[in-house]
C-alpha cells in the first residue's frame, strides 16, 4: 500500500481541536503523522496539494437508504456507495427497510460484503429493531451485530407499543448497538402527504401535523427516562421536537438527534404545484421549523446532519401526488448545502466537521471521525471555493429524485480517501 502525503491544507479536526495548516501522512490505511507544513518528507508518497482546501475527517452519513436487497432499480449498495464518495462521504449507514428486511444477520452480512466490493464509501448496515419492522418482536441483536450492524432502527416505522420500545432500548444498550428512532405517531400522520398547514389547505391534500413527530419524540423521551438507555432521533423536522429534545438534554437524558439538509433549506412551500421531489417523510415544514432547526445546529441540540437519502424512480414519483413515494436523494448535495450554511455564517467549518463526521462516528462507535495519528485514513478534502451545479445526469445515484438540481453551489469534495485509498477524485476539468 502506497502512502499519501496531503500538503498545505487547512486541517479541521474537532476531535483534536485543530483548525489550521497541517501536512498529513497516510500510511497502511491509517493516519501516520500530522506535522506543520513542510515538515514531512515527500519521498515515496503520492502527494496531494491541498492548498486553499479543507482537510476533514471523512464525512459520515448515518442515515441512507441503499435499497438493496429488493429494490435495486432505485439504488444498489455499490451505486449508493459511489454516490456517497462523490458527495464527500467516507462512510454511510444503510437503513434496514430493504426487502427482505434487514432483521437477520444474513442480510446485514450481504450488505457489508457488497459495500466492501464497491470500493467506495464504507457501508455499515443498521439492522431492524423488530422483526419485519412490525414493532412486535425484537430482532436478534447479538447476531446482527456480529454480522456488522452498527445500530438498530425500524426507520420508516415507529415502535408504537411503549412496552416493546422499552425492551428495544434495554436490549440495544446491552448489545452495544445504538438505537435510532423514526419518531412518527402514525395515528396522527396516516394518509397525510404534506405538512399540515398553509400548503395542505391550498392544495387540498391531507396534512401531517407537526405533532405527529412531537408526540412520538415525547413518548420516546419518556421511555429513555424509564429505561435510562440512550436514544438517537432520526431526521427531526419540527421546532416542537427540537424543543422537547433540548429540554431532555438539559435534564441530562442520553438523547441525540439528527436533521437532514432539506429541512434546513426548504419549507413546505417548495411543494409548489404538487412537486413530488419535495415530498418526503417527515414532510418539509413551516418556516418557523426551519429557523428552529438552524438555530439548533449552532447551540448543539442537533448533533448530526444525515441525508435520509431515499432513492425512488419515476415509477414512484411521476404519479398522483398522494400516491408518490416519500423521499429525496441527498448524498451529493448534502456537503454543498452545508457549505452554504458555513458561507452564510450559520455554522463554522469546525461545526460542519462535528455535525458530519465527529459526532456520527462517536454516536455509532464507527472508525473514523478523527484524524489523530493511528486512526483510519478516512479523509475528505474540500475545495470551499469551487462553484458548481449538479445535473441529474452527473449524479451517481441510480435515482434522480432531488429538489436541488441546478442550484448554484460553492464548495465540493475534491478527494475522498477511505482506509488510505483514494475512492473519489474530482477530475481536473471539474475542479
Amino acid at each position: 500500500m502506497t502512502s499519501i502525503l496531503i500538503k498545505n491544507g487547512r486541517l479541521i479536526d474537532p476531535s483534536q481541536n485543530i483548525d489550521g495548516p497541517r501536512d498529513m501522512l497516510l500510511k497502511n490505511g491509517l493516519v501516520a503523522a500530522l506535522e506543520r507544513p513542510g515538515a514531512l518528507p515527500e519521498a515515496g508518497s503520492r502527494v496531494i496539494d491541498a492548498r486553499n482546501r479543507w482537510v476533514l475527517p471523512g464525512l459520515i452519513d448515518m442515515h441512507v437508504h441503499l435499497r438493496e436487497p429488493g429494490h435495486e432499480y432505485k439504488e444498489t449498495v455499490a451505486s449508493g456507495a459511489r454516490a456517497a464518495a462523490a458527495g464527500g462521504f467516507t462512510a454511510v449507514v444503510a437503513m434496514p427497510n430493504t426487502s427482505p428486511v434487514m432483521d437477520k444477520a444474513e442480510v446485514a452480512a450481504a450488505v457489508m460484503a457488497k459495500g466492501r466490493q464497491a470500493g467506495a464509501a464504507r457501508v455499515w448496515p443498521a439492522a431492524a429493531m423488530t422483526l419485519g419492522r412490525q414493532g412486535e418482536e425484537l430482532a436478534e441483536y447479538e447476531d446482527l451485530k456480529a454480522a456488522g450492524a452498527v445500530a438498530v432502527t425500524d426507520d420508516g416505522a415507529w415502535v408504537t407499543d411503549p412496552k416493546v420500545f422499552r425492551r428495544v432500548l434495554d436490549y440495544a444498550a446491552v448489545t452495544g448497538l445504538p438505537a435510532l428512532s423514526h419518531a412518527e405517531d402514525h395515528a396522527l400522520s396516516k394518509g397525510g402527504a404534506v405538512h399540515e398547514g398553509r400548503v395542505s389547505t391550498r392544495l387540498g391534500l391531507p396534512g401531517i401535523p407537526a405533532q405527529a413527530e412531537i408526540n412520538a419524540v415525547m413518548r420516546d423521551i419518556n421511555m429513555v427516562e424509564l429505561s435510562g438507555r440512550p436514544l438517537h432521533f432520526c431526521h427531526i423536522s419540527t421546532a416542537g421536537a427540537i424543543e422537547a429534545i433540548r429540554a431532555a438534554k438539559k435534564r441530562g437524558l442520553p438523547v441525540s438527534c439528527e436533521t437532514a439538509p432539506h429541512y434546513l433549506f426548504l419549507t413546505h412551500e417548495a411543494v409548489g404545484d404538487y412537486d413530488a421531489n419535495a415530498k418526503m417523510n417527515p414532510p418539509l415544514r413551516a418556516p418557523e421549523d426551519m429557523a428552529a432547526l438552524r438555530a439548533a445546529l449552532t447551540d448543539g441540540v442537533v448533533d448530526v446532519i444525515a441525508t435520509d437519502h431515499a432513492p425512488h424512480s419515476v415509477l414512484e414519483k411521476e404519479v398522483e401526488f398522494i400516491d408518490a413515494a416519500f423521499g429525496v436523494i441527498g448524498l451529493e448535495t448534502s456537503l454543498p448545502l452545508m457549505m452554504e450554511l458555513v458561507a452564510a455564517g450559520v455554522i463554522t467549518p469546525g461545526r460542519l466537521a462535528e455535525l458530519m463526521s465527529t459526532r456520527p462516528a462517536a454516536l455509532l462507535n464507527l472508525p473514523g471521525g478523527s484524524l489523530a495519528p493511528g486512526r483510519p485514513a478516512d479523509v475528505t478534502i474540500v475545495d470551499p471555493d469551487l462553484s458548481f451545479a449538479l445535473k441529474p445526469e452527473d449524479s451517481l445515484s441510480l435515482s434522480k429524485n432531488s429538489p436541488f438540481w441546478g442550484r448554484p453551489f460553492k464548495g465540493r469534495a475534491t478527494q475522498v480517501i477511505v482506509g488510505g485509498i483514494i475512492v473519489h477524485e474530482l477530475a481536473k476539468a471539474e475542479g
Binding site: 399540515e196 398553509r198 395542505s200 392544495l203 387540498g204 391534500l205 404538487y274 415509477l315 398522494i322
Partner: protein
Amino acid sequence: MTETSPSFPKDLIDLDDLTPGQITCVLDAAENFKEVSEREIKKVPTLRGKLVVIFFHENSTRTRLSFEVAAKRLSADTVALSASGSSLAKGESLLDTARNIEAMRPDALVIRHGASGVPGFLARRLKFPVLNAGDGAHAHPTQALLDMLTLREVKGRLEGLKVAIIGDIAHSRVARSNMIGLVKMGGRVAVAGPPSMLAPELAEIYGVEVYARPEPALEGADAVMMLRIQLERQSGALFPGAREYARVYGLNRERMKLAKDDAIILHPGPVNQGVELTPDLYDDERSVILPQVTNGVAVRMALLCLLIDNPDKE
C-alpha cells in the same frame, strides 16, 4: 368570443389561472350559450371536427353529463373514459394514459380525478387544453363558474355579495374554487363548518371569514351554498353523525331567516336531503339548485369554446 375578449391560458386547472376580466368573459359567453339550449335544434357548429376526451377517474353523474351535453351542443365529438373502463383498472400509470390519449390527437381533455393535482400534472405534459372537472379536494373551477353565473343572473352582480359556504370546507374542491373566484370578483365569503372540517389558515389564504357555527356566516348573506357531507367520513371521527350535523349545521327555514330575505340557496349536488338542508328548502323558490345544473352546461360550452378555439394562448 368578441374581438375584445381577453386571451386565455392553455388550460383551466383552477380559478387562480383566470383574471377577473377572463372570468367575466366566460360568464358573458355562457350567458349567450344559454340561448342555444332553448332552441328547437340545440346545436351550433362551433367545434365541428374537434375531439373532446372526457376522462372521469371518479364517479360523477352531473358534471360528466354536463360536459358531454356541452361538447355535443357545440358539435364536437366526444369520447368518454372512466377508470373502470380504461386501462387504469389494469394498472396502467397516469403518465402512460396521458401519452396514449395524446397519441390520439384530441383537441381537449376534460379530467375528473380523485387525487388532488392530477389535472395540472397532465396539463404540463400535454400540448392541448386540459379542463379540470374536479380533482380531489383541490379545485372544481367549472362548478365555481356555474355558481357565479347563477348568482350573477339572480343578483345582477357578484361584487359586494355576501356568500355563506357551509359544510366540509376542508375536503371540498367546490369550496376552494368558489372562495378563489368569488373573492376575486369582489364578493365577500364566509365559510362555516365543524372544526374538523375547517382547514388551517383558510382566512389568510383565501381572504374569507371563517366560523365554526353557521349563524355568523348566514347573517345578512345574499346567498347560501351548502356543501355535500360525505356521510362515510363519520367513521374517521370527523363529525358525530348526520343527526347532530343536521341539527347544528343543516339549513332550515328558521336558520335561513338570518340571511337576507331575498337570499338564494345553492348546492353543488347531489344533496343529502334532511342533512345539509331540509327537503322543503330544496323545493323552495329561493333554491336555485336546478338552475345551477342548466347553467353548468352553458359555462362548460363557453369554456370548451374559449380554450379549444384559443388562437392566442397565453
